[in-house]
């Protein structure tokens, strides 16, 4: 085990450069350290000017997504020991504008997430006195996987379609829309269909499958999108054959 490892970090300081550069730091190697620990060491002891996002440091908040050696990862879940002998390259997520160093702007995703209405939509809500909405374990199983999304944006960073076509609504947004479409308590599938079946909705996806590969919570957004394509297409056929019965 080496005593130290090199960390090559992307820097971007708009007040003094117009293009990102790289800066290498020699950090102590600890076998239980993750990349986030290394970055925090840099910020605490070597270079306080390094900017990056992090929060829970245990893989549930989705804040610390960055590219490690070219692959989008949660830095709180990426062990230094897997990247020996180094150097380990840390860069901001692809396809999002870089604000500073390793910080990217996520406004685009936030806007798209709102568009798919990620909440239970019902025509009539039950009054609290009437009790809960009941759901069997099998009904929960149909959407549970998609509810695991922590909005970490690794999938957007892996999706080449999102890189080529920034207006593409993207894997996480569609997976979350599916999470609600498949929820037995939800009645809003028709409302979400409108935004999802637009040109920049599900039909942009060509099932590259990279999103599912990098997802740290095993949400399988690629699967969600393909399943939704089938639903969307059958709905379309139904609306064509039975125009009066569209719900």
């Amino acid at each position: 085990m080496p005593s130290s490892v090199a960390l090559t970090v992307a820097r971007y300081r708009p007040e003094r450069e117009s293009e990102p550069t790289f800066q290498t730091y020699e950090i102590p190697f600890r076998k239980d350290w993750v990349v986030l620990d290394a970055l925090n060491h840099v910020k605490d002891s070597l270079d306080g000017s390094l900017s990056f996002r992090w929060s829970c440091r245990m893989g549930v908040c989705g804040s610390c997504g960055m590219k490690v050696n070219g692959t989008p990862k949660l830095t709180c879940a990426t062990f230094l020991s897997d990247y020996l002998p180094g150097p380990i390259r840390v860069e901001p997520l692809d396809y999002f504008p870089v604000v500073r160093d390793l910080v990217v702007d996520l406004t685009d995703f936030m806007r798209k997430l709102k568009q798919v209405k990620p909440w239970i939509i019902r025509k009539e809500e039950k009054a609290p006195g009437e009790g809960e909405y009941l759901q069997t374990p099998d009904q929960l199983d149909t959407y549970k996987q998609f509810s695991m999304c922590i909005n970490c944006m690794l999938c957007y960073s892996a999706c080449p379609i999102y890189g080529l076509e920034p207006s593409f609504i993207g894997p996480a947004a569609i997976a979350l829309a599916q999470r609600y479409n498949m929820d037995s308590r939800d009645e809003g599938a028709a409302e979400r269909l409108k935004i999802l079946s637009e040109h920049d909705g599900i039909w942009q996806c060509t099932f590259v499958g990279e999103c599912t590969k990098v997802c740290p919570k095993h949400v399988d957004p690629a699967g969600a999108i393909q399943q939704y394509k089938l639903t969307g297409a059958t709905n379309w056929v139904k609306s064509l054959l039975l125009p009066w019965g569209t719900r």
Binding site: P160, I161, L164, E165, S197, E198, H199, W203, T206, K229, G232, A233, N235, W236, V237
Partner: protein, 115 residues
């Protein structure tokens, strides 16, 4: 164009399934085994006999037409994404689906007019 995207995707899926299930065996026989003499090719008469059945003609129509639409849809997106030819998107779509339609029409014409 947008309003028929679900239809184009369904054709793409159907064509892909037909191609995946049936093309390997057909291609192996027609493209390799028969020309190389590994297996005996069916004679002109036996093929014509098969063609008299309407089921054969329907089968051949599906075998030719659906994979063409599979190619059209997939290739269109490959050009659009792979080569970033966004400004030619309408032209690409017209050429791809047009070619698939032309192949389909020709197959339909040939199969319909078999005496």
């Amino acid at each position: 164009m947008e309003r028929i995207t679900p239809l184009l995707w369904l054709l793409f899926s159907a064509g892909g399934t037909v191609a995946a299930l049936l093309f390997p065996v057909h291609f192996f026989l027609t493209g390799l085994a028969f020309p190389l003499g590994w297996l005996e090719a069916p004679s002109h008469e036996s093929l014509n006999r098969l063609l008299t059945h309407p089921v054969t003609r329907l089968y051949l129509f599906i075998l030719i037409s659906l994979p063409l639409f599979h190619w059209a849809h997939r290739f269109r997106y490959t050009l659009y994404d792979g080569l970033q030819l966004k400004h030619l998107t309408v032209l690409i779509a017209v050429l791809c689906y047009g070619a698939a339609l032309a192949g389909t029409a020709m197959a339909a014409y040939l199969l319909w007019n078999i005496s």
